[in-house]
Symmetry: C2
Subunit: 587 residues, 2 copies
């Protein structure tokens, strides 16, 4: 049984509360006011629920077929027709620039659309997801000719894209990459090397597959500073085959319908994108966009798991309420929602997920602000917010998302462990999010080692001020005191911890590595506390069930989720000492 | 790649530290001194590693076959031969009483043997595991005739056993059970009803399958007090078929090679075990024993996942050490064990798992003390320890075990997500432990609602005193001050929390339900802190790598794991308020 209803009311509330209306006023977004945006999303949600969801389980069970002789990959039954419908619906073009055939919608709507697609069919959604990254990279770093050659077909969905970074010996450490790119007479390059973990590196959904490949030019300096980026199409523009071959598929815990390929480049013709040896710049643009999407995966799959657990809980009757007043005398047992622990688990998932969604969509909207705000300072500020929050959302979103799905499963007892309700698939599909696009600890190092130090702490200061502005503006409102007080305390704690960590890190970078992951979670819980305070304010005094529930959820966050910071603080204070005392042989 | 070496040094240390030698002195255990016990375990470990492990992955991939016409279940290739070897090795008989063909070894050794079997092939290990439960139930509640009829073949492994509790409408709430048992002329009963989630309810490994079935007699009062227990063999003792049929198999996240059966009883002949309507007594004996074994599953699978992650980490090189002194100039990248976060994750798993193992084996030894100590008061005390700790070990062991496997997977990046290293299978196989034998929250309710109140708090008081005795005895030892101080504080906190919860619970049971799961974890972390203090004391002043590592691990526990109690305390203090404010429609 697969249960999903896109949380459109929730999304409208988040868009209203966190500034979508301002964004819709920017030049270029005239066609996307809130009502139109919601209409677009409603269509998208309907499509995902009606078309993507029914194929989610069957595709997981059927999996992929690989032909070692031809290198061809066959996707599960129905995927090809589904992809055609998906493309026909314009889903791949929503946020792309009109000059290349896109609809020019705000980036935010693209992120929202991804939530529905991921929730209803994560494996399938990864194909257009990867294309999106390549489109961004081309827009940022491609020549006009390259844009004209590749963008229209990528945006229409006729072709798809990949990201070829990892090699067997080079995963987290891309500087170890050895794929070679040698200049050819025609101005192109000949690429030779093996890439692994290539999502939708080979498949049968599109006419062509365009690979973005990290490789080294003959004169490249060693390490990360000698990496260039190339476009390598499966079929060249003249239609002839290129030297690109899928060498096999990984067998994985989840995303069984998403091909994870070994891709062999054997003298394949490729075209340099951006400057020689500066390939990581292009990749970082692509990865940063991708990281926000990955964080959304935890939220999306957490949402569908939550909805499934709620549906199960509302139907299931076991045991009696501990409060005699709540006993249903007409039945032999009470609905399990009367049991405090069932509520605890459901509330944990609901409230953490709504908080993460608010943070992620606020960040998504900041991407649009960064590109479209008329004021340069505001653009910079928004860009800073995005840079700072991207690793937080990626790491916390996937870690908490995985935990949330497991908690939703727990609500369902044995039923959750069976394939009947699909929650077990969501758990398997979600787990990859903690690993790819930079493992979660890499996000922590990006946050502390790169984002916190950037502009001498400017990014952090601005975000901390932004949160604090809420406290200041609402301090005198007695109805918000239950939030402003604890939020102020939480921000102060984060400020102090950040400063202390910065000092420690200057003396000993290992201290930062040792507590980075816990620090990121502290940051996330504090930032989400801010979003809940904003949500509480927006809900205050409004008389409908939706807003009353919002207030309850905000309170639950402050009493039952934010306190997780207590342990994180203790672990951060513990530092590296007892961790680094172990020698390699002690493990 | 499947990597496992039974942690025999670790086990010997735990047995020495937590009183195995005293136990070996009891009447009946003359043949099982520590050296002999270790020799038995070494053989068992060798068998599991050489025979069970190679079939673990293949059996998971092949799964089970069910024939709907005959109701027959075919286990994966190699299981039948493996089971024969397992039986020939005497593995099913180790701890059973000699008068029925057993070897009379301490129960502790049976638990230890299960750790190896579960780690190397959880699906397979569940078959003898269930028989073990039935043997216990028969020893406790069977008549002499029943014992003579069933025990020898169950103990030799010629037959296997099951536990038939759950029905579609009766899971956690066994009082809703409706299977009927009607008296027959021959003194037996005719059973009719459907049971679900029956582990190894049907299979091809043994000549007969003996079901222990909960059912209602015609004059049974409603609810849990009207349940009786029956033995229902697949084939009657005269060899004729009984009305027992497997109606299908569940499809599950994991344990793919362990049949989870629907079992239909259609006028099947059964034999009453114990008194009419008092069936839950028999079941509780069985379940309590089973719960300790389930807690061990988290430890066992956590161990093999940890060993796999360590092997991967010791081989893998990515990026450079943050500490320049540790850079390996002969290689292009450093071994990932130099990275603090990799150590953090591995140490989290190693140290939490060793602590849980110490607690679980101490509890296992208390079972032997409870049955064999010459002094009645000591037997009662040990029995109390077991009753109190069983739900703690089951719930915390499985919850932390699952989290530990996920953390081990995280060490391995993408590799951990593939089937190549099998950690993904351990994750899937372990997840059921949080659900079966009473979901983890049921353990929390058992702990608080039953065990804490028993004898007006006697069980808790005795255990708290037992832990405190360590503090008192070692307070003046400056070398142990880093443990005794924090341990004293942790015990006091647990004492206060327990008392406060008791008071709250008397006024409002929902307060207990709301925080029960978090309280259980607080209890577990404190109890494990005690085991680490004992381990530190045992290691102190001993000059070998093993003991030095033990001390490091004990320190890591106190600085980096015990602080998880901080958040738990905050959540316990938050109580039920914001959780119970939600109405059913708010979810």
């Amino acid at each position: 049984m697969q249960i999903y209803k896109a949380p459109l009311d929730e999304i409208r509330f988040i868009l209203e509360t966190f500034g979508y209306n301002e964004l819709a006023g920017f030049e270029g977004f005239e066609d996307y006011d809130l009502d139109t945006a919601m209409a677009v999303l409603e269509e998208s949600a309907k499509f995902c629920t009606n078309e993507l969801l029914p194929l989610n389980r069957t595709a997981d069970q059927e999996g992929l077929k690989y032909n070692p002789e031809t290198g061809e990959v066959t996707t599960p039954k129905g995927f090809k027709e589904l992809y055609e419908k998906f493309v026909a619906q314009g889903a791949t073009a929503l946020t792309a620039p009109p000059e290349f055939g896109g609809f020019g919608a705000p980036h935010t709507l693209g992120v929202l659309q991804t939530e529905f697609a991921t929730a209803t069919n994560k494996s399938f959604s990864m194909c257009p997801g990867l294309s999106h990254g390549l489109i961004d990279a081309l827009l940022n770093s491609g020549t006009d000719e390259q844009k004209a050659q590749y963008l229209p077909n990528l945006i229409s969905g006729k072709w798809s894209g990949t990201m070829c970074l990892t090699e067997p010996q080079a995963g987290t450490d891309l500087g170890l990459c050895t794929t070679k790119a040698e200049p050819k007479d025609n101005g192109a390059y000949s690429l030779t090397g093996t890439k692994i973990w290539i999502t939708f590196g080979e498949h049968d959904l599109t006419e062509n597959i365009i690979h973005l490949v990290l490789a080294r030019l003959p004169d490249a300096p060693p390490g990360i500073k000698g990496i260039s980026t190339f476009i390598v199409p499966k079929y060249k523009l003249d239609g002839s085959a290129n030297g690109v071959m899928c060498g096999g598929l990984e067998h994985k815990l989840g995303i069984h319908a998403s091909p994870t390929c070994v891709i062999n480049f054997e003298g394949a013709e490729g075209y340099l994108i951006g400057e020689p040896h500066k390939g990581m710049r292009t990749m970082f643009v692509m990865m940063n966009a991708a990281r926000l999407f990955v964080g959304m995966e935890g939220i999306a799959l957490g949402e569908i798991a939550y909805q499934t657990a709620v549906a199960f809980a509302k139907d299931r009757r076991q045991s009696r309420s501990l409060d005699r007043k709540k006993i249903d005398k007409d039945a032999k047992a009470d609905n399990i929602l009367v049991h405090p622990d069932v509520r605890r688990m459901l509330a944990n998932v609901k409230v953490s997920n709504e908080g993460m969604r608010a943070l992620a969509y606020w960040a998504a909207m900041q991407i649009d602000v960064a590109h479209h705000h008329p004021d340069e300072a505001q653009r910079q500020l928004a860009d800073d917010f995005v840079a700072l929050l991207t690793p937080v959302i990626k790491s916390y979103g996937t870690e908490r998302g995985f935990a949330n799905i497991s908690e939703a499963m727990q609500v369902m007892g044995g039923a959750g462990y069976t394939t009947d309700w699909s929650v077990e698939q969501y758990l398997r599909d979600a787990r990859i999010g903690m690993v790819y696009e930079g493992t979660n600890h890499i996000q922590a190092l990006d946050l502390i080692g790169r984002k916190l130090v950037q502009g001498q702490g400017r990014l952090y200061r601005n975000f901390s001020k932004h949160m604090f502005r809420f406290v200041k503006a609402n301090k005198d409102n007695p109805e918000l005191a239950e939030f402003t007080g604890p939020l102020e305390k939480a921000i102060n704690t984060l400020n102090q911890t950040t400063m202390a960590l910065g000092m420690k890190g200057m003396q000993d970078p290992e201290e930062v590595g040792a507590v980075g992951s816990n620090y990121l979670n502290l940051f996330a819980l504090t930032a989400i506390a801010w979003t809940w305070a904003e949500q509480a304010k927006a809900a205050l005094g409004k008389d409908s069930k939706f807003y009353r529930t919002k207030l309850k959820s905000a309170r639950y966050y402050y009493s039952n989720i934010l306190p997780e910071t207590e342990s994180l603080l203790a672990l951060i204070n513990a530092g590296k000492k007892n961790m680094m005392e172990f020698e390699a042989e002690d493990f």
